[in-house]
């Protein structure tokens, strides 16, 4: 079990170490699609709920995984599009709080390894996609560059989801499934702490 723990820890550390997630618009000099991919890869706000959801879908089986692989990036795109085109400014604590709830929900789903019927999986994926897509594109100008940025993020979400699904999909051994659930518990715990933080210190997070 420790090896899986260490591997997860190293993966998360590697995820966090290099870029440390500027809030918005990473500029790589490689064009907007790459910027979107990079932004996604460097934002644990984006990548961790996707990994948790994918681990969960993988534990549920190939059918759920296939469905969510299509639903998640689509919802991400719609969420980003709505935020970008509407330009509606949400209260400053709303999105971080929604992100905390997403962490809590996705982590909790994985940790509990809950047996739900497939439509509920899709609902979870739509919620994650809409919230994070809206968070990523909130305040971005409604122009082609932003949309390419968003497209890059959706591609990254698609790829990360597929790769993460393939981690848990073939799992048969008991303790490896437990290791995946432990990872979910960590994501949920981080979400709960994040929620408390926002309630205490207000909007100055993210």
């Amino acid at each position: 079990m420790r090896r899986r723990f260490t591997a997860t820890a190293m993966a998360i550390a590697a995820l966090l170490a290099p870029g440390l997630a500027q809030a918005h618009l990473v500029v790589t000099g490689m064009g907007p699609i790459y910027d979107g991919v990079t932004h996604f890869a460097l934002s644990p706000e984006d990548s961790l709920p996707v990994v948790a959801l994918a681990f969960y879908a993988g534990l549920r089986g190939p059918g759920s995984s296939r469905l969510l692989l299509a639903v998640l990036p689509s919802a991400w795109f719609v969420g980003g599009l709505l935020a970008c085109l509407s330009g509606v400014a949400l209260p400053p604590t709303a999105l971080p709080l929604a992100t905390a709830v997403v962490f809590l929900a996705m982590g909790g789903l994985l940790a509990s390894d809950l047996t739900l019927s497939t439509p509920y999986h899709a609902v979870a994926a739509i919620a994650v996609g809409l919230v994070r897509g809206a968070a990523d594109l909130g305040g971005a100008p409604a122009e082609a560059g932003s949309l390419l940025d968003l497209a890059g993020m959706c591609v990254a979400a698609f790829a990360l989801f597929a790769l993460a699904v393939s981690v848990t999909l073939p799992l048969k051994r008991f303790w490896m499934i437990v290791a995946a659930r432990v990872a979910g518990s960590w994501v949920a715990a981080a979400g709960l702490l994040l929620a408390g933080w926002i309630l205490r210190f207000g909007a100055k997070v993210q």
């Binding site: 723990f5 440390l20 303790w175 659930r181 979400g191 709960l192 702490l193 205490r200 210190f201």
Partner: protein, 200 residues
């Protein structure tokens, strides 16, 4: 709870090695890395926390299935509930005493190789977990990247459990069972020292 009060404890040398990197890194690392690093260092900066977390892992390994997996899955969640309560401003008296008590009780449970029903073990560990999380929650500093801080924090706690569970795997050998109980005695003694300094 003050960290300085812990330093004179018997484990001074080890405490220094755990505590020293924190201020040094805080100056070197800029920006948001600080959030992750300081979150990661928070659970490992006090020996009262460390021994209790490791004891949870040890006890889980002693109890075997299903405790060995119920604990690592639920404990971070329970602890973050405590942290959440601490963050939103709930004030609970006697947190420090409860934490010291947790080291003493968990150490004793490991030393005696106590095997209560899972529900009782879970409630006990959960209760202590609430206090640990609460103590961290009220101490969280503002002005850091909250998510990275939380992640580092959860990660460090989880790795302490994992360390305990990994050490606890020696349970399968006869000598290992005695080694575990000896470790339980050591943890219980540590808890007693912390309890003494908390009450004094």
């Amino acid at each position: 709870m003050s960290r300085t009060r812990l330093h004179p404890a018997a484990l001074l040398a080890l405490t220094i090695s755990a505590a020293l990197p924190a201020p040094a890194l805080a100056h070197i690392v800029n920006g948001e890395a600080v959030g992750f690093v300081s979150g990661f260092l928070h659970p490992v900066s006090g020996w009262d926390h460390i021994i209790a977390m490791v004891a949870v892992g040890l006890w889980g390994a002693q109890l075997g299935r299903p405790a060995i997996w119920v604990l690592p899955v639920t404990f971070p969640l329970v602890m973050s509930v405590g942290g959440f309560l601490g963050l939103i401003g709930l004030r609970v008296p006697g947190g420090e005493i409860a934490i010291a008590l947790s080291g003493l009780c968990l150490g004793a449970a490991v030393a005696l190789s106590w095997r209560p029903p899972l529900a009782i073990a879970a409630v006990l560990v959960g209760l202590f977990g609430l206090f640990h999380g609460y103590a961290h929650g009220v101490e969280l500093p503002p002005g850091q990247n909250a998510l990275l801080y939380s992640l580092g924090f959860v990660l460090a706690t989880g790795m302490l459990h994992a360390t305990g569970v990994a050490i606890g795997l020696v349970h399968r050998w006869p000598w290992g069972r005695w080694a575990l109980r000896a470790a339980g005695v050591a943890i219980g003694c540590g808890g007693a020292v912390f309890l003494w300094s908390a009450l004094a």
